[in-house]
């Protein structure tokens, strides 16, 4: 029986600001190339669900208006179910707006309006007055290995992490969560939150495979992935590191 991986793409038409669907494409393609059948389900507003039946959850970034709608949907419909899934160890990737909404709250710049998050991540976000934007390189340790992760950030929200979560990595180039503490992203159980677009996963096959492997080990017990030829991805990864080292706009 062919092995499969069930991927849930949350709010694909609302939270897809910077090509974040590339992450779902990366999960699906790599799984296919490894002989694993991907099953992608889109879940949108007002649909309640049991998210523990998925192997991977993905939620991307969106504009402020869309994020408000999702915030309401989380509060009224899905938030607890998603939190339950993450707490039970479902592998999750949340980018930008999705990352912010998994935290405790987002304090906007307008009159201290506070948008509540799901609160499953011990993190909170405050609107800053400058845009943190540009190519990013971070150093991350996952599964005992330390590697670089590359991407592009574009956010005015500044996210701060509490005690019970760890950062995704240390910033070598770029701003990271808040431009102050030198860290980017957040890891909690099997949930990764990050500000990195790019899309994130295509140029970081190590991270993609780590997430796929974690999901499949949970599902099938001991499981090793078929190694793929990542020549082109690695070229792009190294080119992104050089590009991040240069001044922007050239």
């Amino acid at each position: 029986m062919q092995k499969s991986i069930r991927i849930c793409h949350l709010y694909p038409e609302l939270m897809n600001l910077y090509g974040d669907r590339g992450n779902v494409i990366a999960f699906s393609r790599r799984a296919e190339w490894m002989g694993i059948r991907p099953e992608v389900t889109a879940v949108s507003l007002s649909e309640s669900h049991d998210f523990t039946k998925y192997d991977l959850l993905f939620i991307g970034g969106g504009q402020d208006k869309e994020q408000k709608l999702i915030c309401i949907d989380f509060q009224q419909v899905k938030g607890k179910a998603i939190a339950d899934a993450i707490l039970s160890g479902v592998v999750t990737l949340a980018v930008c707006g999705g990352y912010q909404l998994l935290g405790k709250y987002y304090r906007t710049g307008q009159g201290d309006e506070v948008l509540p998050g799901i609160g499953v991540l011990d993190a909170w976000t405050v609107a800053g007055n400058k845009r943190l934007i540009g190519n990013v390189v971070i150093e991350s340790t996952l599964g005992g290995e330390t590697r670089t992760i590359v991407g592009f950030e574009n956010h005015s929200g500044k996210t701060y992490l509490g005690e019970s979560v760890t950062p995704l990595g240390r910033v070598r180039r770029g701003f990271g969560n808040n431009g102050e503490d030198g860290y980017e992203g957040c890891v909690y159980k099997n949930c990764v939150g990050t500000y990195l677009h790019g899309s994130l996963l295509p140029k970081n096959p190590w991270l993609t495979d780590y997430l796929i492997q974690t999901a499949l080990v949970r599902k099938y017990g001991d499981f090793s992935l078929v190694p793929l030829d990542d020549t082109i991805e690695d070229l792009a990864h190294r080119a992104a590191i050089s590009r991040a080292a240069q001044r922007p706009g050239l």
Partner: protein, 464 residues
């Protein structure tokens, strides 16, 4: 003119002459220096235009629509000052207008026609005092510069609010955000849109930039979708809907890459013409041009003749002879535009030779994530028609990864970052009499034009 304005003018002209001699084609630096010397230079120059000034803004189609209007004006015997190279920030407009004044500061042109970047609208409207402003559409584009689509729209709105009462705003009725700019009763609104009842695919737009009412946030219902989020829309919650256009595309018949047949009705009458540019998006550009020109009183016959003769400008999309072969250069800047280019490219049975050059400088958009919203899967699904794809530019490797994940066979794919070397190789692989598709982002397109020029083909851009 004041001494400082004259000095600013002379400096701008001298710098432009120097750039031409050195072959660097600087189209914004002269204006930048001039405006430092005399910030109101542009206002002094544009005030001299007897026929007034016009601004063209919006996400897609500015350059093509502006060039169409320029050709229409010339056909009508008018003399436009027009930033034809597409340098659409305030410096580019100032540079262009400075070139059209004589040494005494007298404009040799009688109408100003400025393509204006959306964020520049407030300043441009203040300096140019246009009697007519055209807004084509709003798409998510280069968000790393503007941050949010809403900010872009509000900047254009801020510009329009500075127009004198009774001025005219020409707006695309089929684009909900562009149409929403027509809510001021202080200004005269002229709407244009598609009224061909045979058009309008049902169903959601594929690239969903805006599908919600800007007033109440409810999702639009569409009784017809023409292109991306453009169509016949209505908000079921507050009743806001697409305004009735005065300038209507009654009939649109596509002839593939060769262009389309259009029949357009205006309050002054109806004209038919064959447009040499393909796609619904170019029909919209023509519609905007008809709306603008007819509102200014240009006779319909003149408009029709000019549009029938119109060919594409400055490498945004053009066919260039290259020795025994041809190059089809189509600028790509956002998912919707790229999807249209892919659709055009896939028409026709011959094998496709393709170069895709992606840069990430400021003018290209520094975040290349948008490539993941382009439907390259569609291109890959017809790869039996593709001879090769070479990816080039600063982000050549990103483009190659995108194509790999879209399903393109690696045997068809190669990477050559240097644009000139990529073109050399691509032209080598293209058979005699064959067509090479070159799809660059903005600064890569400048490199492509430059490379083709050095090979002895295609004039330098400012000669166009």
């Amino acid at each position: 003119m004041s001494p400082s304005a004259l000095l600013a003018l002379w400096v701008a002209k001298a710098l432009a002459r120097l750039a031409r001699l050195r072959g660097t084609g600087g189209s914004t630096f002269p204006g930048r220096v001039a405006l430092r010397i005399e910030p109101r230079l542009l206002a002094y120059l544009s005030a001299q235009h007897m026929r007034g000034n016009i601004t063209i803004s919006g996400t897609n189609g500015k350059t093509t629509t502006a060039k169409m209007i320029a050709d229409i004006f010339v056909a009508a015997g008018w003399r436009p000052a027009h930033n034809r190279t597409g340098a659409n920030l305030i410096y580019g407009i100032a540079s262009e207008f400075a070139q059209r004044a004589n040494l005494f500061g007298r404009m040799q042109t009688d109408v100003g026609l400025a393509e204006v970047d959306e964020a520049t609208m407030p300043l441009a409207v203040k300096e140019l005092a246009p009697g007519v402003a055209l807004v084509t559409n709003f798409f998510r584009d280069q968000l790393d510069r503007f941050g949010e689509l809403e900010t872009t729209v509000s900047l254009v709105r801020k510009g329009l609010e500075q127009m004198a009462s009774g001025s005219t705003v020409v707006l695309n009725a089929d684009d909900p955000l562009a149409a929403s700019l027509g809510e001021s009763s202080r200004l005269r609104n002229v709407f244009y849109g598609i009224e061909d009842r045979s058009m309008g695919m049902e169903g959601r737009a594929q690239v969903a930039d805006i599908k919600r009412c800007p007033h109440c946030g409810a999702e639009y219902e569409y009784s017809g979708v023409f292109y991306a989020h453009l169509g016949r829309y209505r908000c079921p919650s507050c009743g806001y809907k697409r305004p009735e256009p005065q300038v209507k595309l009654l009939t649109y018949r596509s002839e593939g890459a060769r262009g389309s047949f259009c029949s357009v009705s205006t309050p002054e009458g109806t004209i038919d013409f064959s447009l040499k540019l393909p796609g619904v998006y170019n029909a919209y550009n023509a519609l905007g041009a008809v709306a603008c020109a007819s509102t200014l009183g240009v006779p319909l016959d003149t408009i029709r003749d000019a549009l029938s003769r119109f060919t594409s400008s400055f490498g945004r999309m053009e066919l260039v002879p290259v020795g025994t072969k041809q190059a089809f250069i189509a600028l790509v800047k956002n998912p919707t535009g790229f999807n249209e280019v892919i659709r055009t490219l896939l028409e026709g049975e011959e094998e496709k030779n393709i170069v895709i050059a992606i840069n990430d400088r400021y003018a290209d958009g520094t975040d290349v994530s948008w490539l993941w919203d382009v439907d390259f899967e569609r291109l890959a699904s017809r790869q039996q028609k593709i001879r090769f794809v070479i990816t080039s530019g600063i982000r050549a490797e990103d483009m190659a990864v995108r194509l790999k994940y879209a399903g393109l066979s690696l045997g068809l794919l190669s990477i050559e970052k240097d644009v000139k070397k990529a073109l050399d190789r691509a032209l080598g692989y293209t058979p005699d009499g064959g067509l090479l598709y070159i799809l660059p982002t903005y600064t890569a397109m400048l490199e492509v034009r430059d490379a083709l020029h050095r090979m002895g083909h295609a004039r330098q851009f400012w000669e166009v």
